[in-house]
Structure formats: C-alpha cells, structure tokens
Amino acid sequence: MPAPDHNDSLEEQINQWRTYLGRRQAIHSVDVAELEDHLREQIAVLADAGLTTDEAFLVAVKRMGDPDAVSREFAREHSERLWKQLVLSSSDTGEPLSAARTDAIAAFGVAASAAAAIKLPALFGIGLDTNPSFYVRNASVLVLPLLTGYFAWKRRLDTGTLRWLAVAFAAAAVFANVFPFTPRGHTEVLTALHLPIALWLALGIAYAGGRWSEVAGRMDFIRFSGELVIYYILIALGGGALTAFMGMIFKAIGIDVERFFASWLLPCGAAGGLVVASWLVEAKQSVIENMAPVLTRLFTPLFAAVLVAFLGTLVWTGRGVDIERNALIAFDVLLMVVLCLLLYSISARDPRSSPGTYDVLQVVLLVSALLADAVALWAIAARITEFGFTPNRVAALGENVILLVNLAWSAGLYIRFLRGRASLAVLERWQTDYLPVYVVWAAIVVIVFPPLFRYV
C-alpha cells in the first residue's frame, strides 16, 4: 500500500504549488485556498480513475492552466491588487490584523501624547508667543522621548537600556535649559539644531531594540530615518493643504483661524505627525517599496553632473571660491546631501552584486564633491583668522571636517570595491560605525559650545 509516503510527497508538492501561486500579487491567500480545494478534488477524482498521486497532481496542475495566464486573469478582475495597499491588510488571517490594530492604536495614542506634550509648557505659563526660544530649544526634548518610548514598547527593551535612555533625555533637558543663553544668540540656535541630532541616537537605540551593536541593526535605523523624512514631508504637505482649506472656508464666514492655527494646529500637528510618520514607515516597510533609494537613484546622476560642471567651470575660468560668511554652510549641506545619496544607495543595494555603471557614477559624485569641498576649505583656511572664530563658524567647520573624513574614506573603499579588492559590506560597516561620531560632535556643540563662547 503506497499510503503515508505518497501522501507526504503529495502534501509537499501541493505546498510548493501553493507558495508558488501565493507569490503572485494578484492572487491573495483566500484565492489560493479556493484554487487548492479545486486542485485537491481534481487529484482525488483522477486518482480514483487509476492514476498514481504523482500523475494526478501533474494533470491537475496542468488543467489549472498556465500560472502566468491565470494570474493575469485575476489581475484583470482585481486590478486594485496590483497597487499595493497599506490600509487593506485584512485579506489574510485575523491574527496579525489584531496585532496591527494594537500597534496602530498605540501609535495614535503616542501621537496624541506628543501633541499634548508640546502644549504642556503652556500650562506653566510658557506660551509659544511669549517665549518662542524655549520651544525652539526644547521641541526635541518634548517629542522624541515619546517616540523613543513607542519603539521601546514595540521592541520590548530591557530596563537597563531604558534607564540609559532616560538618563540621556534628562541630560538633554538639563543642557537645553540650564545655560543663560543670550536671547536669539548663536549658541542658542546651535543648541536647537544639534540637540535633535544627539537625541536621534537615543531613538536609534530604541528603534534597533538590542541590535544597535550589529551593522544590520544600525543600517535598518538609517533606512527608517530616510523613509521617515519622506513621510514626514508628505504629511506636512497634506497638513498645509488642510490648513489652507480651513483658513479659506472659515474666512468665508468671517472667522479668523490664524491664532488657532499658529498656537494649536501647527505645533500639535508637527509633533503628532512625527509619531504617525514613524508608525507609517514601520507599518508599510514590507508592503510598499522604499522611497529614499528610488529618489537617490534619480538624483545621484544629476548631482554628479552638477558637481562635475562646477569643477569644470572652476578650472576653465580660473575663479577662486568667493568665500562669504555662509559659504561654509553651503558646502556642509552639499556634503550632507552627497552622504545621504551614498547611504541610501548602499542601503538598497544587494551587497553581493558586482560593480556596475551606477557605482562608477557614485564614485564620480563622491570624488567631485570632495574636490569641491577641498577647494572651499582651502579658501576658508586662508582667511579664517580674518573672519574670526564665531561659534557658527567653528560648528560648521567641525561638521565639514567630519563629513569630509567620512566621504574621503568612503570614496577610498568604493574605489577598492570597483577594482574588485573589497566588498561593499566594508563600506556599509564604515558608515554605520561612523554614526556615533555625528552624535558625539552634536553633543559637544550642545554641551561645550555655549560656555566656551560665553552664550552669545
């Protein structure tokens, strides 16, 4: 009797067929279940007619039709399925749905708390209009702990890590408020700009949830950050459209909503939106293609072309770089953009694939950015004593050096990769190992700069 052995192999074959069919976007798992019922009945009928199970399976699969053609037919009937839907995740089993729902409820709860947190100081008499600089300095201290808490809950962080994160946020709150800043002074603005960067590390540790020591864990956080920026911008655009519309219709009935907008909608929306954007990035990561690498692929050739044209013009006309006060910041931004282009192209790249034209383009971009920055730095070095060391200039110079070192080393690694001497994994490791350097520098700017420059 050919019983258990044959049945096992039949189950195995049906399993394979099921996964093969299930991989198609247009055929959902309920449809696969319906088709499987059909297949099994067909096999049973054929086996009764005297075929062996193997033969019956083959015939039944053949009668089902070419999977591509069937899938095309399903796609024609369910064309919406070819557009990956984030919200429509209910087609599968019920269990993951309830987990997703808990997560969504938690995320919106945290978003509401973040919106409330940004209004909390107003309860103690610190209004957004009476003391705006307090909000500028403290925005990240008010909102990021909640977002970090959300990920700490999601990743079930151990209490040891939680304690360290709490210490970091407490320290941030102290340094944001303890110094006697000159109102609207340089050091105050520097603190406002660098505190979020320093606290981003705390968020990263919570996000990575114990995988921070691994390259992959840190790389995931880099991917998350890129997507978060894109989603946040999209939400901000939507919010802008909403408020413009709201302003218009209320104006029509003679009510001015500007005050409500400025003191409630904008700050609360900005705080809550960050949490909602984070939740969206997490919820959609396996459903929808990542956007940052797509934009990177689009813009890497364009930025490379602009930089090469810039260098060519520089050499052709023999002009020096006219160093104004803000030129250094412009070159910092350039290096930051190039770093992002590099990061998000390697974040989406299969590290095992061999070098191609796009990689050559990437090296052209890196090398031309480095050359442009070197020219600028040379011009600045010649005149730095003339300009004097203001806190802004020292911060910008420090950032420039940090980015320059990173990109120079990256360019070296990338060229080694192009020549087949090293794998891209080395570059990935270098980039993720470098993350703490930015944080340490941001912390230095927040902690050391204000007293060093007498709170100007």
Partner: protein
C-alpha cells in the same frame, strides 16, 4: 474542438449564472457541469473560472460563503442573487436573438461540412 477565446469569454457569464440558477455550487462542480452540458466540447482552463466567479460576486450577481465540505476541507460556495437572475434573463434574451439570427443564416447558406477536405471544393486544374 477548439472554441474561440472571445466566444468562451462571452458565454462564460450566462453559462455560470445558469448553472448557479440550478442550485448553489462551487468551482470544481461548476466546471464538471459545463463539461457534461457541452458533451466535453467546451473545455475551460480550470483556473480561469475563478476570476469569472469573482467578477459575478463583485457585480452582485452571485454571493459567496465559505463552508466546510463533506471532505472536511473549507470550500467557497456561490449562490445566485436576485440581481443575478435578472442578469441571466437578460443574457438569455440576448443569446436567443444571436442564436435566432445565426439559425436564419445557417439555413440559407451551404457551408463545407466540418472535417471534409476544403481542397476538394476547389476546381481541379483542367488539362494539366
């Protein structure tokens, strides 16, 4: 016998609706019934029936429910709705019109008998 794809697509709705009008059914049984009714002359690719059923479901001509079959497996059954019956009546009317037209013209025309060699109908070359 090969039946043109367009013809299969056009006739699938009335055939499936009519089979469902006989009683609730499911994919495999519907295909079996089609084979019986056509005497094996209409062969549908099995997988292609399901998008048709899903379309009927979406249009409200049929409603579906999951049930446990006597085999113990979960099975999706389809039932015709009142909208489906109205659609079936409409299809019936249209197909009768097509059928009547074709019958009219088949009567006057003499077509080559299926299966005979078309070359024999051509005039033989004279004096070769």
């Amino acid at each position: 016998m090969e039946i043109n794809k367009d013809l299969i697509a056009a006739s699938s709705t009335p055939i499936v609706l009519a089979i469902l009008a006989e009683g609730d059914s499911y994919g495999y049984a519907i295909l079996k019934r089609v084979r019986e009714l056509s005497g094996g002359r209409m062969e549908w690719t099995d997988g292609m029936l399901y998008p048709v059923l899903h379309r009927l479901e979406r249009l409200g001509h049929a409603e579906a429910r999951w049930d446990v079959a006597e085999s113990g497996r979960r099975r999706k059954y389809y039932r015709i709705t009142s909208g489906g019956r109205a659609q079936l009546a409409e299809e019936h009317r249209q197909w009768q019109a097509v059928d009547a037209t074709l019958r009219g013209i088949w009567g006057v025309l003499t077509l080559p008998v299926p299966g005979s060699n078309p070359a024999s109908a051509a005039p033989l070359p004279q004096g070769a």
